[in-house]
Structure formats: C-alpha cells, structure tokens
Amino acid sequence: MPQTITEKILAAHAGRASVEPGELVTVQIDMALANDITAPIAIELFEESETPSVFHQEKIALVPDHFVPNKDVRSAMQVQIMRRFAKKYGIKHFFELGQMGIEHVLLPEQGLVLPGEVVIGADSHTCTYGALGAFATGLGSTDIAAAMITGEVWLKVPASMKLTYQGQRRKWVTGKDLILYTIGDVGVDGARYKAMEFVGEAIEALSMSDRMTMANMAIEAGAKSGIMAPDQVTQDYVRERSRRAFQPYHSDPDAAYDQERVYDVSEIEPQVAFPHLPENTRPVSEAGTISIDQAVIGSCTNGRIEDLRLAAQVLKGHTIAKHVRLIVIPATPSIYRQALAEGLLDIFLAAQGIVSPPTCGPCLGGFMGILGPGERAVATTNRNFVGRMGHSTSEVYLANPAVAAASAVLGRIGSPEGL
C-alpha cells in the first residue's frame, strides 16, 4: 500500500507494515524531550508512579532553556528539579548552563536526532526535527512522563498535506518567509492535525537551517508535524554530527494526501506577520510605516549561525535607530562561539545592539527584553499572540533575520532594500 514518509516512519515504529490516517497506534520513541517549564510536571508524575528507572538513559533529553540563566528563584527551582532527576536516574542528556542552548537548535546540533526517528517533546516546536526527515511532534508533560516509563506513545496517524515549492527564491527571501507565506495562505488551523510534507525544488535548495525554520513553524498552522525528505543536504548535516546508523524514508510516488498546494516561490517577497496571529501576513513592501521599539534576532526558529550571518550582513557598517533596542540571541554555545570567531558579535555590538546568552527568553515573554505597554517589536520568533512578549497592549511582528536587522536600523518595519 503506498505510504507517505510520515506513515512509513510511524508504521516502522509501531511494528507494522503500513498504517492509515486516523488509526490509533502505539509507537516506540527514539527521544523524549522536556524543558524547564514542562519537565517539572513530567518529573512529578514519574516520581509518583514509583517506577524504578527510566526506559532508556540515553533517549531522554532535559534542556533548561526557557527561563535560563535562572530568571528568578522559582525558575531556579524548576531547573533544580531537572538536575536532581537527571542525576538520580542517570539521564545522560541533561544540559547544564554553559552547554545548554535552545532545545530545538541544540538537539540536531549535537547529533541527537536522525532521519527516520520518532521524537516527542513537551514543547510545541518539537516539530522542528521534521526538517531532518524524522517524525517529531509536541505533546504535554503527562505524555512525556508516560513515555519516560514505557518508551512508547499513543498517536493518531495524521493525514499528510503535500506542499510543493517551485522556482527560485528572490534576494532576502528565506525559509522563514516561505513558512510565513504558507501560514498566511492556509491559516492558523489550516493544517490542524495534519503532517505537513514540504517538497519541491525550492525546498531541496534550502539549507538545513532554513528547513528547520520551516518545520519549526508547522505548529503555527495547527499541524501535528512537518517533514522534509532526507537528501544529500541531510546526509551531510547528520554525518558531521553523529556516527549512529539511521533509516531514511521517502514517500511513495502514489501515496495519498489529504490536501495539496503548490507555490511559486519566485512570487514571494519577504513576509511580515502582523499582530496578533502568525497567519496575519503581508509582504514587507506593504508594511506601511510601523515604528518599532525593539528587534529580537534569535529563537528556535531563527537563532542559528546562518541567521546571525544574515543579520550581520545587513547590520554591518550601520547603527540602529536611536529609539530602538536590538537583542541578538545565539541559540547555543557553539553558535555563540562561532559568531564570536566570525566577528559577527562585534558587528551587533558596534551597531549598538546587545548579545544575550542562549535562551528562549523574550520569545515567550519570559525575560531578557520584555515589552512595556504599547511597545512594538519585530522578531525572528514564531508567535505574536496578544501579550506574547510582554504587556497585553504590546505588539509583535514576525519576520526573517534580514528584515529584523533592517528594521532595527530604519527604526520601523522595513527591508534591507530600504537601507
């Protein structure tokens, strides 16, 4: 029976020859992940169950990243819970300050996710790992607690939605713009419960970093997961980071899809998602005059070295507008050090921005750059709901790193073309 890549991965992990959308299956997981705001609940439930050991000491990752470096006493206590638990049960992948980074950038970087694997995480942006050709989905802490005991999770097989991207991207158009455009097209629940399968020449032309940006935001269209088939780009990326064997899967040519859409990317401009939904997109050229107070470049969506290089390319030789605050957040220690070695951090500082240690921080309104009443930010993050980055009257505009950087210089939403 013809299967999509998603169906093949789930079937293989459920010990089945094939599966159908809508079926409930129990799958073996390759990795379960939690962070400092979701791990405490999972840990409490695990301890209450009086299970003597975790299902596998190397298939659990605990990454304190949301309110770390410890934002306050209660955040410190949440990390303490994780630290004690990791030590007690011999969990290998606990990342202390100095090694930790934003979870969805850190795990692929460290070679902890491979094509064909099943990854579940107590964080909605777990879907990021679909960029490596894995099945990856976000769940609640309770599901992670159960998985830490059994090494399994029950799932409803999602129908697959085929999104084909043809043509060549214009200058300054990145994976961020392709996914924002897509979410603007299908809506925040347009892919609800589906596996978004990203295919086509324009996807194949994307770096792994840009693929991760796209898969990261599948949840913003309501999807269960996002996925790109593994190819040479995937192979090269993974081989630099892991020696473990993996099983690449690909969709059968005659596999069935719930819905199909085709995009000509040469028609797509850099996109901006206006408040207060990621689907509220328009081309940056139609932004009008929107004065900003803050620009944030970072997050699991766009905090990788490629994103920082793009921002630095735009910022080089400029200083930001006097009324703007620029916050740059390399997503992991490796990225931070690489940006330092490449002279990027000096460009950000010379522009009168600041550089933060790796953290989710302002993305979810945690800390490290919160917005006051009526303030506006342009951010390379993934959500712009009411109050997302601070006061309920503040506004967040989502964009790619080049647009965010240009906007910081201009003092208003704008493109590098406007510099």
């Binding site: 609640g140 309770t142 059994t150 629940d189």
Partner: protein, 164 residues
C-alpha cells in the same frame, strides 16, 4: 453526569498565551494557575468566574503552546468544561490528560452568549442552552480516550498496562 453552569463566551483562536501567560509558568499548582486564567484576555476573569461555570468558544481553542498549565489553569479557576467549535490538537490531548472535560460542537458558539445557563451531558454530548433554547450535539469522544478517562487518566492507564 450533567454539567451545569453559566457561560463565559470567547471567540476564535483563544491561544495558550492568553489562557495562562508565560510569566506564570513557574508553578504547577492548579489553584495558583487558576488565579491567572484567561488573564491575557480579561484580567478580572478569575475573580468573576464561579465554580461550575462553562467556557464556550469558537474555532481552534487552545492553539499555541503545549503547556499543560493551560488546561490546569482552566480547571483551577473552577471551570467545569470547555465547549468549542474546534480544539487545537495539543490542547485537546492535554485536556484529557489533565481531566478537563472538553466538547467539540461545531455550531454551539454561534448563538450561545456570556451569561447563558448551559447544561452539558457528559455521556451523550447533548448541550442545552436554557436561556436561548438552543440544543447542540458534541462529537463523541473517541473510544480510546474514553478508556483513558475510565482508567483515571493517562498515567493510571499506562501503569495498569504495565501491571497487566
């Protein structure tokens, strides 16, 4: 069992950031979270809501984060159940995990308004608006998820499976 209460009506795409802003994700205490329920939309909600009240909403309720603190905050505020046109998928699953009763009824949010007296039959899914006289039917809960509820939640289900 029949749930009865006064309605608090919300629109489409009520997201997890308004249900429980991130600044409160430093506790796992239901009651404490309940004090900040829906704060992003209405800071006085947790004071106004009475135990047993019912939230009625439009499409895609609970979209955004996977934070289980969202259904916990709703339960902690004393809300007995949520009726919505549709639910975001992680929230749907988390609600069951947390024991928050939810009902998907496509047309309920069209006419029901804040202040209406509603009753929801947990077994049949029948919803009656006693104030306006409307009757609606919620989609049946998938049998597997009914099994989770009967077992007392996901953790109880998993532990029973291990023993059995």
């Amino acid at each position: 069992m029949i749930l009865e209460g006064a309605v608090w009506k919300f629109g489409d795409n009520v997201d997890t950031d308004v249900i429980i802003p991130a600044t409160y994700l430093v506790t796992t205490d239901y009651r404490e979270l309940g004090k900040h329920c829906m704060e992003g939309l209405d800071p006085s909600f947790s004071e106004k809501v009475r135990p047993g009240d019912i939230i009625v909403a439009g499409k895609n309720f609970g979209c955004g984060s996977s934070r289980e603190h969202a259904p916990m905050a709703i339960k902690g505020a004393g809300v007995s159940c949520v009726v919505a046109e549709s639910f975001a998928r992680i929230f749907f699953r988390n609600a069951f995990n947390m024991g928050l009763a939810i009902f998907e009824a496509p047309d309920a949010s069209e006419t029901i308004q804040t202040g209406d007296q509603l009753s929801v039959n947990q077994d049949t899914g029948e919803i009656i608006d006693h104030t306006r006289g409307g009757r609606f039917l919620a989609s049946p809960i998938p049998p597997f998820m009914q099994g989770l509820i009967e077992a007392g939640g996901l953790m109880s289900y998993v532990l029973k499976q291990k023993q059995g």
